[in-house]
């Protein structure tokens, strides 16, 4: 009996020593925009390498970056670049964040499909979201109040939109704040006078109509060429240069196969 216990303990120790080279595990956390990419890629990756253990969580870009700084995740998904304050914090804690661009995303302006408006200028979008324009009639539409739908300030999409479309001005106070791309899409699909913004992956939701911006429709092509004004890169931040399983995973995401998944999820491939 005693020798059996010894053998078990010995085996456990050996397994523990051997573990790093086999059953490595990584945690990915952050932006809900990058989440579908990370999830699909992790699934496919684990199908190939059954020893790898990758757990993927959402939470928002800020949450992911905070976790990277606190060293509780290995890859932080982000739909915006890190802020100076976050970089300082990272340095203070001995974390060296490295940005890896994994895909491009466009922020599409969308209205309810019953809305007669087809196109807006960037200036008009800015005026609507900062409160200068409040009625559709001012844009050639019906004499109805505009219901402005925005993302919650916790989302990377909100911050990217603020920088790309509003020149960092404040969003009007009476804008509805929704927690996810899906929630924005469903609110607009149900509200005839609403306008909002969603990731490119969501514009095919039924009941929505994407708008041309400065005469350019949001599409993969126009986003990748940056012709479309509201385009942005999507990041996977790592602590230092990617190594080990983290490197293998990122290599997979950037490979032809990984980028095909990016396309399938409605985002824009890099190549």
């Amino acid at each position: 009996m005693k020798s059996l216990t010894k053998i078990i303990i010995l085996a456990a120790i050996l397994a523990g020593l051997a573990a790093p080279s086999y059953a490595e595990s990584i945690v990915i956390e952050g932006s809900t925009t990058v989440l579908p990419i990370a999830q699909r890629a992790a699934e496919e990756f684990m199908n190939k390498d059954s020893a790898a253990d990758i757990s993927v969580r959402g939470g928002g870009s800020g949450v992911g970056i905070a976790s990277l700084i606190a060293k509780t995740c290995d890859i932080a998904d982000a739909s915006r670049a890190m802020k100076d304050q976050e970089l300082e914090q990272a340095v203070a804690r001995g974390v060296d964040p490295v940005a890896n661009v994994v895909a491009m995303d466009g922020i599409a302006m969308v209205v309810n499909s019953s809305n007669p408006i087809d196109a807006l200028t960037k200036q008009q979008v800015k005026d609507i979201f900062t409160g200068k324009i409040s009625y559709w009639s001012e844009l050639g539409g019906a004499n109805e109040p505009i219901v402005v739908v925005s993302r919650d300030s916790a989302s990377g999409t909100f911050e990217s939109f603020g920088e790309l479309a509003l020149d960092k001005q404040k969003v009007r106070k009476d804008a509805l704040m929704e927690a996810s791309n899906g929630a924005v899409a469903s609110t607009i699909a149900r509200t005839p006078n609403a306008i909002g913004y969603v990731g490119l992956g969501f514009i095919s939701t039924s009941g929505l109509k994407p708008l041309a911006l400065n005469g350019v429709m949001p599409s993969k092509k126009t986003v990748l060429s940056k012709k479309y004004a509201l385009s942005r890169p999507l990041f996977m931040y790592t602590n230092g240069k990617p190594q080990g399983l983290v490197k293998d995973f990122l290599d997979f995401v950037l490979s032809k196969e990984g980028q095909a998944l990016v396309g399938e999820e409605g985002y824009v491939e890099l190549n």
Partner: protein
Amino acid sequence: MVKEKIYKWLFCILAFSSLFFLLGITVILFKEGLPVFKQVSLPHFLFGRDWYPTHEEAEFGILPLIVASVWVTLGAMFFCVPLGIGSALYINELATERQKAFLKPLVEILAGIPSVVYGFFGMAIAAPFLQRLLNIPVGLCAFTASLILGIMAVPTVCSIAEDALNCVPRSFREASFALGANRWQTLVKVVVPAAGSGISTAVILGMSRAIGETMTVLMVSGGAAVIPKSIFDPVRPMTSTIAAEMGEAVVGSLHYQSLFAIGIILFLITFIFNIIAELVSRRFRIKLGLCG
């Protein structure tokens, strides 16, 4: 003997553990929240009209959030007081034994539904329906939030009010009947006044329940940090602000501290509600000299 002492101490510790948790939460709440007032003055925090916590020129005025919480809670009372007290009166006074055995558990099941389910119902069904019915610009607004919160608070109000009615001594009713009063007169002139403070307690605890509710308002109130002009405007109550933004706030930042400070305000409000409810119900027990 020794065994008995051990048990006594064990249960003593268990009994005091909730005190320990309460103290811990209170201390953390104040420790994390109070530093915000070093940089934002208290009047500016309480009465400022702009809530832009993540903007470069951040502003931390929570008046729109306080107004939203009060607005939605009062609206909820509008629905849950008649529903809750009405059903308590029916269950206690008019229902037959069989109806009672059926209705009481039913109301309690209502209390057992998770708030996220109410929120989902409000978002997917009630909001679009009210939007079409009332022809309002958007269904996610203070009115919808009030309606859903009102329904959620019905079990609290109903079961406490029902207990209060139950506590009115039979002799009161018998005396009233003996004087020739009919059932309605007895109910309105004797039973309800006698249970009055118990019913008030029920209403106050219902308010406490409504103002502290988070998930539902996060999903149905719309989330616009603006002082509402009508009951059909989208609003952003204090609880949903904390829930929506805490995940994103950088730990130790001004935003993080201000969310804790909102927590302090919310804590004080519900604390005051509970004290009032306790005082009122104590008066009620003394008045009847029963049901201690």
